[in-house]
Point group: D2
Chain length 216, copies 4
């Protein structure tokens, strides 16, 4: 039986909830896929510690696929992240007060890692399912990119059989009820989106060919 | 028993569905409020005809409250319209090919009508319910504003006991699945929003005092 | 000789400059049009007082055309305002601490006034001149709309020979240098834009027919 | 005497001008800095060829600093690019009809290269000069990122003494005159911006420490 590890962060940046954890914990509980074991773990929004907590979860769950999910406040669609960069540059402190500026995540690691999720297959399936989605070429320089880079670095150096990557999701409506003109997406839509991503990630060992680039 | 008439347009502008009709027809079918009679009617996205169809629905239903709902493609929240202006200026043809430019809706009517819905009460209740909402000072110059003006003109001249107004809603996710970076809102959230608007409109005969203006 | 009165507000909302005054004072000083007398006056960003100061300027200058200019922070183009509404709803206090909510500007005035500037001619000329411009159906509910309504009300009741209206302009680049991802427009471009608006307003006693409406 | 090579692309994507070339060619002609030799070269918006043309220009000019400039249609500020990724994914064909999808730029090259321009110094100087600017973590996946990666790869493998990087700039106003609500920046402002970038790049051999990261 294929095992899938999902992660979502705890709230940060003044928010009282994090849509990533709300979504992945529900996917965990729904058990939509009888042929899969899907486990969700919460990750602290903290540099370094987040990667260590992820490592422990991987050792415990022994997953075939790892999908880390994070909040992208202000985006309107599901963002399949293509590349993680070896850089921390924190605009705000993390949940333990760390605010690294222009530091590498790994002294020995490469400048960037590519996702190993079939992100174009996932994007195509999401759109076919009526869910707005697109590829993203930057996961930022905060803890989301940090964890994404850490995951790919662990896959490259410790867990070579795992397929993994990162997905950014919008705010929940309840988070933008007091923020004028900021997009959101409902919990139900995002739970369905992550379930589609799970299935596509298990089924596609190669991605499809499709133009999804950005001009700038 | 209070009677509420909801209207939603048919699809226009190349869309195959109109979220306004999807939402109000579901509110009609759900019958959430045993103490209310809620009726939904579809309105053609056609100048003049839309107002005539609305008049027939009012004569038939004899409502206490009329809420017309329309699609505001690109918005991210529920928009409570404050004012209807006496002007048609169509950027695209309506569903029968009419494209009036700078023509008044009513030769004798005033330049503008105010909504008679308690829009600040509705906005406050929506936000309290976790649904993004804001006031809007323009319903555009196409058939939405046309119907809104027509409704308020009929209330002023033919149906003085009715409380009425217009609400704009975002695209559904399925409409933006192929439109990058355009916000949407789920059907469930929008159905809940219109139900909140219905209840608030029936209960509040005076609006609350709250600052909801725009600087420009 | 045709006389044109331009107005621009003093800074408000935490800004130290107001692009409206920067622009109209330069148009005044440049004297680009030998056949026109162009006078610029600064208007305080204060409810009621702003209209009174405008009245005194009109009495003094005796203009044929009045163009009031205001800052629309966040817009990216020149906005030709179509309609002023009879409503004050202040999101922030004005420069003397007044913050009216849902009060009419004129107890006896109509719900709205149309601009009497040839806004579609101006828009066409601006675009032909390479300057982004569009029509706007709302000037907000703060002092800009207040002055715009006051101007049109004075034209309707006291100064019937005057042609007048309101133009909103973006931030200057210096105002957005610390505001990420907020559009701006250079002083030179905006000075040229207002000069084009002046000339078009003097020359066109009737506006052109062109579709410039909004869907919502 | 320090030598600086600036590049700008020819028009692409249906545009008749490219702001990048308009700007760098003016910086070349203005000769604002008597102590610098600034040379501008036009680069074709074509995969592979663009890098080869850049190599020939470097061999000819023998610059100390290379700044490649590109159009970022829709952005509102000067974007200092932080990282180039080893990937071509073309949403539209280039100017010779090539449309690579998910191909590496260099088979042997690393996943990404960092800019070697002092981008935080440049950003700070631009803002101090009243010009909106910010860091960007993605230059896209089209010819801009392609040339940026090619430049850094040549610096790493052929021209180790050069400091180089990429700057994205907004549309010119004339390009958005017919595109509603799309930001632009004036030619004068952008010429000044690139001159500030030139001076900062020559003077700063180390960048400043400043938080300029993105949350996502």
């Amino acid at each position: 039986m294929n095992k899938v590890l999902l992660t979502g962060f705890d709230p940060f940046g003044g928010e009282t909830i994090n849509p990533a954890w709300e979504v992945v914990s529900r996917v965990h509980r729904r058990k939509t896929f009888p042929e899969l074991q899907v486990e969700a773990r919460q990750i602290p929004t903290v540099f370094t510690t987040s990667i260590e907590v992820l490592r422990q979860a991987i050792l415990e769950v022994q997953p075939d696929v790892v999908i880390c999910v994070g909040q992208a406040g202000g985006r309107s669609d599901i963002a399949l992240e293509r590349v993680a960069i070896n850089l921390n540059d924190a605009r705000i402190p993390d949940n333990e007060g760390n605010q690294p500026i222009d530091e590498p995540i790994s002294e020995q690691g490469p400048a960037a890692y590519w996702t190993s999720l079939p992100i174009k297959s996932i994007t195509a399936r999401l759109r076919k399912g009526g869910i707005p989605a697109s590829l993203s070429q930057t996961a930022g320089t905060f803890v989301c990119n940090h964890l994404f880079y850490g995951l790919q670095h662990m896959i490259a150096t410790e867990f070579p059989g795992i397929r993994g990557g990162f997905i950014h999701i919008p705010y929940l409506p309840i988070q933008t009820a007091q923020k004028p003109q900021i997009p959101s997406m409902s919990l139900e839509t995002m739970v369905e989106a992550i379930e589609i991503a799970v299935i596509a990630s298990v089924q596609h060992d190669r991605d499809i060919i499709a133009s999804e680039g950005q001009l700038h």
